[in-house]
Subunit: 457 residues, 4 copies
């Protein structure tokens, strides 16, 4: 998972502080590194990148003082590949034909095949990101106009990509034909924005215009917006349903659907699909399950309570994993309110179970605090398959629901009962056409034609 | 406001990592600086202090590696005096009679008078904290045993103090005769703890034993706990009611009362005292009003919703207050969920109104997002008087409720209606005897005999 | 100017701390950035690079703890291109055929032409260093063995290069056919070294074996040293004479000649060519002229004195160029000893005059301290032409001796007399065959066939 | 050893950047910490202090921007007590009677006795510096005017002190009645300066006025300079001769004597007292012996050569003392020029022998480089006694010359011959009356009445 943001002023006014603030609003999509690239007055591309949260990786005042009307930014999620600065984005490439900058959210499933091919023809790769293949594909078409080279490069790509680029003093956005990752367009006075989520438009005071369509390339220049199509036919849409379940911020709107409302609807579905009428109260796993828990409470009529408090400095403070800290376990982060728990039958709602360890610890803690019964309810179907489209899921062996059925899992986490919604419930709560939602991590139905190891260029 | 923590192992085992973790649990009581002092194997006192959050100010692994069975710690709140490291606590003093360390939560109302007197007798003060007078009072009784010198020093003090000290290889806790600030005792195996709030005991796995009584001195040594009395007669108790309203963590228990339950009760009282039957939903100011809002919802039957999302990186990320950021205002921190707000009549619950600016901005933002009506409900009485006992309130001119009556304030913040609970409601919700609660900031009834400028020694 | 160092242990023992220490000995050749690259146990290349002096750019203990038997390092001189980390060396390139690392001292005169050609064929350049063309030339011959690809790449290069590389787990050194920059081989037990100057061998306890010959490629592997020739015929040698005059450390030996002895011989030549019999004493510009001044004193019989003291913390301490500091001028760095200067006729010896400003300020300071006469003597011929082979000289308009003859310059710097040695004197003092010394910066006689803008590949 | 500097503008103009620059010129007197204290517009004293070199410990631009006409500064030498920031100077004390700041060079021999006495009367000491006793002595006379309290405090002190203070908006300088440490007064336009050495006046463009006399207190205020006497009768003067031998910068003038000229005279004396007629050349230990070596060469007629080169980045770069670095030993810092050494008989001149280890390593290195004979000549008498007046000498057991006679020492360091000058030679070369020079470290003749452990107040 990553977040991208772009800004373009038709009057050439300064936009880089807005890029900084946009990344700040998208911080939940990536905490490993952050970067900004822009066009300077001489028409060259510059970039600043750093590791860690946006305010550590970048210097707000430095960006505010740069007079550039065209910039893009990126926040990167911590994945297995390690947090090296060389993998931070935007990537840039300078040639005699000018400079290009690119920021990418998603995962290209055929990147290794393309990289092999290009290296055999003399290309030198600098980063370990799949994004770099797009720059090399463009460079190998040096006889074409660069926007054309870019469009033709997209034809070679498979998998998920929502992109922000700077090409020839224009801001370019593109979204893969399947539409895996969100991407929206906004506007404030003379400034156009593109952003991974609408909450970033809100923060900079931009008005939401529309989503970038799956398969669309949007080119923003001095004369405004222009729209092109990626010359690839996608048999169906694959918008990631996990964005609604967990990843996106609740104040974002994706494909016209409020994420907050979807999460409450998932909670209501859950109360219908897997009720728990004898319980005394409903609570949510902090903070991933709280909104669905409120929906569950609403539909079931059970009272919603906070029975576990999250230390509000967790995440701001790094606690070393010493022997003593391991001993104390989940207590470091979460503290039960014993007065609310003692002798109660409690429903805990969470968004998903991945490895199952967090869930197990939470149940143990609540039982230790005196709960009579603990019933776990999950506001999405069981996650049984890894994601190849940009979400950092563990391997299949590590996915609890891939190894066990629900009854086994219930026993494993020591819940009194454990239950999920179905894929159909999920689709209904999201409210988009069934053919438009990627549910590969639940169903294993990946996009067709994927995972090829060879390429034709 | 500050937080203090102490640990003593009767077997001499290492306790400093627990002090670090205890401070981490008390981080909400002070973010300006943090410090730890301890006895080393040679019987000397050492201290480490730094500015900022606990994990920046102190080094967990360094503390974990120190073999000391007696330590105290302190987190300091940002007050007007500035965040200089010289004011960080614990303070230490080394003399030929050995070393002392002290950590203080509260405010001594007669500190200036004592300091004047001592300076006229040759004392040199190093910090700007009132706490230092205790050390000088002890040093000026160099002929007495040091624990006796400490007890006799307390006789001279007026105002609020919950203290943790190291004296002669023992851990000492003391609480002023009025009992303004909380202080509790806990135990885990061979380790005794003292802490500002019970949530810190929970984090280190300690069992709650009891509160330190107002006017009590607790001395913890190799043979266990011993209790002494401060030789001052307090006419009444003055336990701070604002700890329940706002300051303490909801998972703490003060004088046997769960803070979470008190806050919910305050919300229920509020729904009775100042109902709003035509509203569509209730929400809480994030994060200070959420629990009371849930109580209001419960008592009123109105649905509880989150309609404003707080950027979860606010507080972790420092945003420079540039021109652009001022322009964007509260948007940087809070984002309304328009779908939930549009055309709704909304009750917002908050814990208190100090200057009124936050409240005003919140209302403006919600109205801008399309709310039909906004009704403000406050889960404590109007704050009309400054606190002299350790809470950093502004001067009287800056307190909105000191300058305006409720109707004027309602108009000022542009609420459709604005209302409060009464002092009686507050006392009932807290559930302690009326004579035991300090309500000076609401009523102006300060402790008797206070504010004298002269001293007799 | 830059410095390079390489180490290879035939027993695979750790060598990276020696690379660090070798760079430390070569610090005078570059203070902008430093880097180390090495082969790890998996056969991959890793690199660490940073800006500033060696001890700031790199972590000695980290390098000491890495178990690698093959490493190279680089210190980079501050040139006009700016001190960005992306230009720091060694450069590395990873492909399916393995990884390569390269460190370069010198300047390739046809790099822009090669870069243009390669970009037209799809190459993406990451740095602004001419060194990167070598990596791309190798990558474009992906069908050849990589050592062969390297040798064939050198055929395309013009200009100055002393190189250290890691190719296929071997340490490779190469020196251009003209022999501009020095490069030596050393050995200690099972470890071979290559270094820009012999003083670096001394520091790590290595014995000097021999210079790398102009046009030679040295391959050091588990079986020892192997020598290849660059397939380019160089009509003559071009060993840089400025290394002797100024750049190399006095304790280095280049082509069998002690730099210290050459500098003393230059001073003696200067005393013969441009005597100053009426002077009272001889001094050297600190620190660039001191050794030649000692030679001048020896040949002339005049006493050698230090009359100006350099603050020994200049260079360690950065002084901000505030208004006050500009006012104080050269005083910040240098302080005259008035007692030694007053009423004296003084000869100041320096190695060269570039812009003339330092010389002018020194004379003014000495006159202000009471000198009766100041006579300037330069231990090299006038620098009239820019260097294209790796020394960062200013443009022709900025070179004082390119704009003025000696009399004009004498007047400009306000010396009583000013004089130089001749090119013949220089060659004789160096003691190498005349055809082996590059004197292009004095004579303007650049290597033939240079400066072509086109390339054939 | 430490360095102090003060500046006072009679027009109130800004002086703190000059204090910074003055400390920079005195950096050789202390590298552990640096600090500046000043009077602000409200008449309060502020201080900034830090560890390490001046430019790391302090912020030049911050100081340049402060508008204060009265400031003092201090650089602290690394002594056994450790480099804690709490020991950094200037020390300050604030009381109802105003604030005082103090910076001290020297060592008070009766400080422990005074501290014991004051602690028994309730004083709390914060630092481990003897300087703090002066502040407490002043505070215990709170009924007197503060300048009077200061003067009367000096009566209690024994040992060495050159002081700079801020008292009541005036700059105060004081020097102990024995005159151990240097202290000078300078002036530039409306600004008066005081400094440990005259080289600091030169750097800020100040004209040397005169030394502060032993036993004098100089008070600089808006009306200019005023002089008071310390009411203690000193039987004799005790100006430290080691300042001339080693400590002071060669461009300083102490008591009217140029340090450079004294060092050359010491070298000439040495050539007379301990000639070495068969030697081929003379060299100096870099950098402590170079000037005396030039004097030796001049008097003996032997040529002066540099045969060992000091890495010019030693001191700027911190090299970790790893196993490998210990193995390489002195090579890390010094490199012999073999061509100059081979088969030569060499005289090495150094200023002193303390532990003897440096000397021994230098001899070993030169012999290893092929020297036929190595003759050591020391430009001061043997150091046989510790210094109690501010120079950080080791204990008697560690002083090589306290354990061995010259012949034994010669054998120990493996010199062919080793010789010193006499105390009489030293006095003559310094050129001050014999009764004015402290030679306690050579002779053991300490000031009378010293080392008492009791005090009368």
């Amino acid at each position: 998972m990553c977040g991208i943001f772009g800004a373009f002023s038709t009057k050439g006014g300064p936009v880089l502080e807005d890029v900084y603030l946009g990344l700040y609003a998208l911080q939940h999509r990536g905490q490993e590194s952050a970067g900004v690239a822009w066009i300077n007055s001489g028409g060259n591309v510059h970039a600043l990148k750093g590791t860690g949260l946006v305010h550590l990786a970048l210097n707000q005042q430095q960006l505010a003082s740069i007079n550039s009307g065209c910039g893009i930014g990126h926040v990167r999620y911590s994945t297995a590949g390690g947090s090296e600065l060389t993998n931070a984005q935007p990537l840039t490439a300078t040639s005699s034909r000018g400079a290009v900058a690119i920021a990418h959210n998603g995962n290209l499933t055929n990147a290794p095949a393309i990289q092999n091919y290009l290296e055999s023809r003399g290309a030198i790769f600098q980063s370990k990101t799949d994004t770099e293949v797009i720059l090399h594909l463009m460079a190998h078409q040096s006889h074409k106009k660069r926007l054309d080279a870019f469009v033709d490069s997209l034809r070679k790509l498979q998998g998920a990509y929502s992109l922000a680029l700077i090409i020839d003093n224009r801001l370019v956005a593109a979204r893969d034909p399947w539409g895996f990752r969100p991407l929206v367009i906004g506007k404030r006075d003379d400034v156009y924005y593109i952003a991974s989520e609408s909450c970033a438009l809100d923060l900079v005071g931009g008005e939401f215009i529309r989503d970038v369509e799956p398969g669309e390339i949007v080119v923003i220049g001095e004369k405004g917006i222009q729209s092109l199509r990626i010359p690839v036919k996608a048999p169906e849409k694959f918008t990631c349903s996990f964005e609604f379940v967990y990843f996106a911020r609740p104040d974002s709107v994706i494909h016209g659907r409020s994420v907050y409302e979807v999460r409450k609807a998932l909670g209501r579905k859950l109360a219908e699909r897997a009720p728990c009428p004898d319980a005394d109260l409903v609570t949510g796993m902090p903070d991933s399950g709280t909104i669905a828990a409120m929906g569950f409470a609403e539909a079931s009529g059970l009272p919603y309570e906070k029975v576990v408090v999250r230390n509000r400095y967790v995440g701001r403070t790094f606690i070393e994993p010493t022997q003593r800290v391991r001993e104390l376990g989940v207590r470091i982060k979460l503290n039960p309110i014993r007065e609310m728990i003692k002798d109660k039958k409690i429903v805990i709602v969470d968004d998903s179970i991945v490895r199952g360890t967090t869930c197990q610890r939470m149940i143990a803690m609540i039982k230790e605090a005196g709960a009579k019964e603990v019933h776990v309810r999950i506001s999405s179907p069981p996650v049984r398959f890894p994601c190849y489209y940009g979400i950092d899921t563990p391997t299949r062996e590590e996915l609890a629901a891939a190894r066990m059925d629900i009854k086994q899992l219930e026993k494993q986490v020591e819940a009194d009962t454990l239950d999920y919604i179905t894929e159909k419930d999920l689709i209904e709560a999201i409210g988009l056409p069934v053919s438009h939602s990627c549910t590969a991590c639940f169903s294993g139905s990946y996009m067709e034609g994927d995972h090829s190891d060879e390429m034709e260029l």
